[in-house]
Amino acid sequence: MLDIKNLQSRIGGTEILRGLSLHVDAGEIHAIMGPNGSGKSTLAQVVAGHQDHEVTGGSVTFKGVDLLELEPEERAREGIFLGFQYPVEIPGVNNAYLLKAALNARRKHQGLDEIDAFEFLKLAKEKMAMLGMDPKFLNRGVNEGFSGGEKKRNEILQMAILEPELAILDETDSGLDIDALKAVAEGVNSLRDPDRAIILVTHYQRLLDYIEPDFVHVLSAGRIIKSGDKSLAFELEEKGYDWVREAANG
């Protein structure tokens, strides 16, 4: 589904991704861990199409399509969703408005009619109930004044409504209390499907207790230096990153 080969990127003249390769098939859940500043968010943003990142080499294909040729909105309509590490506050834009506009943009691309107001409300409320969100959040400004955890839940709400084929969740678990973590995990697990894939960027092995990954990768200095199964996350928790770095360099 997603094929990243030898990807290299720069921002503000600094090289960040330095030959990163990753292959994700439908039905899989991948976890990406790695030290601060190693390039995890950069990877997520390059895949989503952030223009500040200059791709200097390598390729990214999604369902066989060259992703790097597409605008961010085209990637979204193709079925890619990025859950932001720092969701953006947009006062003055209704949460419900954005959800509906996003859903309709995707539906239009799929050749479907726009969703009617009644159906949308039903869908939104159903997903909010699953995530333990008060329906009042629909009428608030997008992330406006939301707590850190509420913002993350809101990202998951958007994902649950859009039902992307590939969701990249950048530290969606950071700053969540235990109930929120469970709600987020439920949202992610509800999306689990043989036709979909999920990439979780996380610092904590704890998330993986709730969402079982098929693969765990370690990203360091712009490259994936080790991949393994779930047990790698435990090993990292125990031994830190130096251990992998040394092994990779040695």
């Binding site: 223009q51 605008e71 909105e73 979204a76 309509r77 947009i90 003055g92 209704n94 506009a101 400004g141």
Partner: protein
């Protein structure tokens, strides 16, 4: 009251500010002078156009107790609990030519006193609609009594294809421990001129929150002068201007912090498209001894056309040590991170841009201090924005 002879009136008109005056550098009142002279030459009488339906429509759009000043003539409503109103004939002494003109040509002034907590906002509709070119004056003096909590809406409208110049003076006095919430809506036709000065004084521990919305008008100049002479004042005011082809909108603000502690915050936002010019000049003066002053001013502008011009100038004068002052002005573009966020949700660049422009304006609507005016102001802002950025989308 006898009106001054025409030559005396014309002499006042000739003394109106010009672009040689520092405070009027960017705003040329030639059109106001010309319209007034023409009107005086024609006898200085105003023949009202048919505006009864407009009055009915506008006063029905916001649930308030309305006073109507049509072409300068006041209609007093029936009695309103907690609101005392009177017709006043002479405005207090004039301090400059605009105020002099106001005094000299005023037909009806309005004085209102608010006690306790009135059930509804006091609405003042200042509407002009004349058969021929005309000039009109308004004078409104509102006192919020000590410990009162009230709301005031000023709604300035002018209609019709004939030239019009409206000149107004507003005085707002907020008593000790009173809370005053104020909204000014200006939705004049694009061929009309308006100058207006608002004086605000606040008592001890008084609160004044205000928001102004300039949606129309060809040439508009608003002055708001806030005088803090008692400690504990908490003042905030917002302004939104949406300007398109042929518009000139100038907001001059001045806050005098004479004593502390006191807070003043202002935020003006503008969206400009087409050949137009806007001015924001925010002056804050922290006088000697006004310790504990906290003054903040911000002005943000979105320029959507190369022909649009903005002159933004914060001016801080600080004559004491124990103060917290900040100011920020931006002219430019939409926030890139927000644009990217929306695009990752599937909204194309154009759509995302429109959504953010809507948000930029709606942000000030959503915190409007008079709740009763929110829906109508929201609709007016959306309608103006739709024309300005050429969309018919419903962002609700």
């Amino acid at each position: 009251m006898m009106r001054l002879p025409t030559d005396k009136l014309q002499a006042i008109v000739d003394r109106l500010p010009t672009t040689r005056d520092e405070d009027w550098k960017y705003t040329d009142l030639s059109r106001a002078r010309e319209i007034t002279s023409r009107w005086l030459d024609a006898g200085g009488a105003t023949v009202a156009a048919e505006i009864a339906e407009d009055i009915a429509r506008i006063t029905a759009s916001i649930d308030a107790d309305w006073f109507v000043i049509a072409n300068g003539e006041l209609r007093l409503p029936d009695e309103i609990p907690n609101v005392t109103a009177a017709r006043v004939n002479a405005a207090p002494t004039a301090e400059n030519a605009l105020a002099e003109l106001n005094t000299a040509l005023l037909l009806d002034g309005l004085r209102v006193r608010i006690d306790g907590t009135p059930a509804k906002p006091v609405g003042i509709l200042l509407i002009d609609g004349a058969a021929d070119a005309a000039t009109s004056q308004s004078y409104v003096d509102v006192e919020f009594a000590a410990h009162s909590s009230g709301e005031l809406i000023e709604y300035h409208v002018s209609l019709g294809a004939t030239d019009h110049y409206a000149n107004g003076v507003v005085r707002i006095a907020v008593g000790d421990n009173a809370s005053a919430r104020h909204v000014r809506i200006q939705d004049r036709d694009l061929n009309h001129v308006q100058t207006g000065i608002t004086h605000v004084s606040v008592g001890r521990d008084a609160k004044f929150s205000s928001a102004g919305f300039d949606l129309g008008g060809g040439l508009v100049r608003n002055d708001i002068l806030i005088d803090i002479a008692n400690p504990g004042a908490d003042i905030s005011f917002d302004g939104l201007y949406l300007a398109g082809d042929g518009q000139h909108i100038d907001n001059h603000t001045r806050v005098d912090h004479r004593v502390g502690p006191a807070i003043s915050r202002q935020e003006y936002r503008g969206i400009l498209n087409g050949k137009c010019r806007c001015v924001w000049n925010g002056k804050a003066i922290v006088h000697e001894g006004a310790d504990g002053t906290d003054a903040d001013q911000a002005n943000h502008n979105l320029l959507l056309s190369e022909k649009a011009e903005i002159d933004a100038k914060p001016e801080l004068e600080i004559y004491t040590d124990d103060v917290k002052c900040s100011h920020g002005t931006t002219v430019g573009q939409l926030d890139e991170t927000s644009l990217f966020y929306l695009r990752t949700r599937g909204l194309d660049q154009g759509h995302a841009t429109r959504v953010l422009m809507h948000a930029f304006a709606a942000g000030l609507v959503s915190r409007i201090p008079v709740e009763a005016a929110k829906a109508t102001v929201g609709e007016l802002v959306e309608a103006r924005l739709a024309v300005l950025i050429n969309t018919d989308e419903d962002f609700s």
